[in-house]
Amino acid sequence: MTKRASDVSGSPPRRRSTYTLAPLVLIAANVVLFALFFVWPAVIGLVYSFTNYTGVGAFQFVGLDNYHNLFGDSAFYDALTRTLLYAVLFVPLNFAVSLLIANVLVSKHAKGTSVARIIFFIPWLLSPIVVGVLWRWLFGENFGLVNYFVEKLGGHAIPWQSNADLSLLVVVMAASWAWTGFSMLLFIAAIKNVPVSYYEAASLDGAGPWRQFFSITLPSIAPTSFIVILLNTINAMKEYPVFVSLNNGGPGTSNNLLVQYIYQTGFQRGQIGYASAASFVLMLILMAVAIIQLIVNRRVENR
């Protein structure tokens, strides 16, 4: 035993071993925070998801009952499918719009890009709650600016608030609008990193702007596209405040997303165990998304 212990302490070179204390001191604060607010909740969350804990008092282990009930719960299914639908609409829209804007901003032909860039970025500074309020003000059924113009042009007032699909669409537009600034910044940095010589060579060979975009820009910024899609998917899966201030998950409960569902079961009905089970399903989805995107990304890069 003593021999082995001395072996271990002797094995790393001396220079390195003198520097173990300093880095540990430096990361100590974040290690403690990580353990307290990440590891601990993850562990007790997993434990509670197998119990009928209500937040206070005693609890019993109920095995897989929570998960069993969850998959029989139509409200959970609705929230899950609505969340996935929201992500499927939001991620591509935000991707396309941000990429378009980034390209226009980088183009040398456009004038006034520095002012325009600030205009595109300001929505990102607004809080999700204010974004919701702002779009509610624009798309109000009886008072909104959009319906005012629709009626002016001879149309009927569009039920932006009372039609479930239309109100989801408004949130998709609002969120894409608000998140453009950030995705755009990432795209601008990536596009600027593409060597200019590629474009020069392509234009000498007679490639037009579209051809250049699809054959040079898009493949060159693939890693950034991957990050934008990943971050936006995570953001879409955890969306809550925009919905709450825009239509409160309505009309009715038709646009209750997963986080809202977890919030309501866990904190308004006090079913912590059940909410923890729902949280774990959301966590598994996010992990699956991350893994699938990693695989796809690797395959695209290897090709």
Binding site: G45, F121, L125, I129, V133, I227, P241, A275, S279
Partner: protein
């Protein structure tokens, strides 16, 4: 080094005069390209700017004019009454002070903790640090919203429920911040650290005296980002804070939206007030956000 540099310069230089000559020769061609690009840019900019402009202009309308048809872009009788009512009513000024306090403290702690962690991850090498780096990576995949209920219980068990500490502490560790500093310190040459070590400086004083001052621009960038995140946070403060005297601005706005009959005049005023600090900070420190390679933090 110089030999590889010079040919590039020669290569690059003739390109410019040629293009200048060309553009002078075919200035109409340049214009033909500039017009559609500029038009597209400004149509998009209007689409993005108009909602905010309409919102801000509406907030200057008196409550009675808000819904009077025909709607007008510019208020006929501009007034600050919405703002004044919002500021005076429902503790809004208290919310504002609370949010500022929470944001400033969290931002200072985030910058400090991220700077230390980023430096350790960049300049030291051992298996514990590598393991911790992967742990931090994992936090980006699993945002706090995923573990709402258990995280709430942890903070409650720590006795931090209904206190600002309960809002601040869980938000201090951010992966983006650690990555930004790690990426920055990787670009600082190791020789600098070695030289200081040879001069007999201690590890922590190398960090505090040499590295911290070097990283000032990154600190500012992260401070702005962190301030934005915390100012706009909604769900976590909502869960943590029970006492209306401790509410943050976002909770205050949402409580106006959640009312049975929305008082739009007050709501517009309150929302615009809540936007002001971030927009001012952004306009002042614009280049630290726009110029920053935020990408670096997320790419690794």
């Amino acid at each position: 080094m110089t030999t590889t540099d010079t040919p590039r310069r020669i290569d690059a230089d003739p390109g410019r005069p040629v293009s200048k000559k060309r553009s002078r020769g075919a200035s109409s061609g340049g214009l033909r390209r500039a017009v559609p690009a500029t038009t597209l840019l400004w149509i998009l900019a209007c689409l993005y700017g108009l909602p905010v402009l309409w919102f801000i202009l509406s907030s200057f309308k008196p409550a009675g004019d808000l819904f009077s048809y025909p709607l007008t872009m510019v208020p006929h009788h501009p007034t600050l009454s919405g703002y004044l009512t919002a500021w005076r009513s429902a503790n809004f000024s208290q919310y504002f002070i609370n949010t500022t306090l929470v944001c400033v403290i969290t931002t200072i702690l985030t910058v400090g903790a991220s700077c230390c962690t980023g430096y350790a991850l960049a300049k030291y090498d051992n298996k514990w640090l590598k393991a911790f780096f992967i742990c931090i990576l994992a936090t980006t995949m699993l945002p706090g919203e995923v573990m709402l209920a258990p995280e709430f219980l942890v903070v409650r068990n720590l006795g931090l429920y209904n206190s600002f500490a309960g809002v601040i502490l869980p938000a201090v560790l951010t992966a983006t911040g650690c990555f930004m500093f790690r990426q920055f310190f990787l670009t600082v040459p190791d020789e600098l650290v070695e030289a200081a070590r040879i001069d007999g400086a201690r590890e922590l004083s190398i960090f505090l005296r040499i590295m911290v001052p070097l990283s000032r621009p990154i600190m500012l960038t992260l401070a702005i980002l962190s301030f934005q995140w915390r100012w706009n946070d909604y769900i976590w403060p909502l869960l943590m804070l029970n006492d209306p005297d401790k509410f943050t601005v976002q909770i205050g706005i949402q409580s106006i939206v959640g009312a049975q009959n929305i008082n739009w005049s007050v709501l517009l005023g309150a929302s615009v007030i809540s936007m002001i600090p971030l927009i001012v900070i952004f306009l002042v420190f614009q280049r630290y956000v726009m110029g920053a390679d935020i990408n670096a933090g997320l790419k690794d």
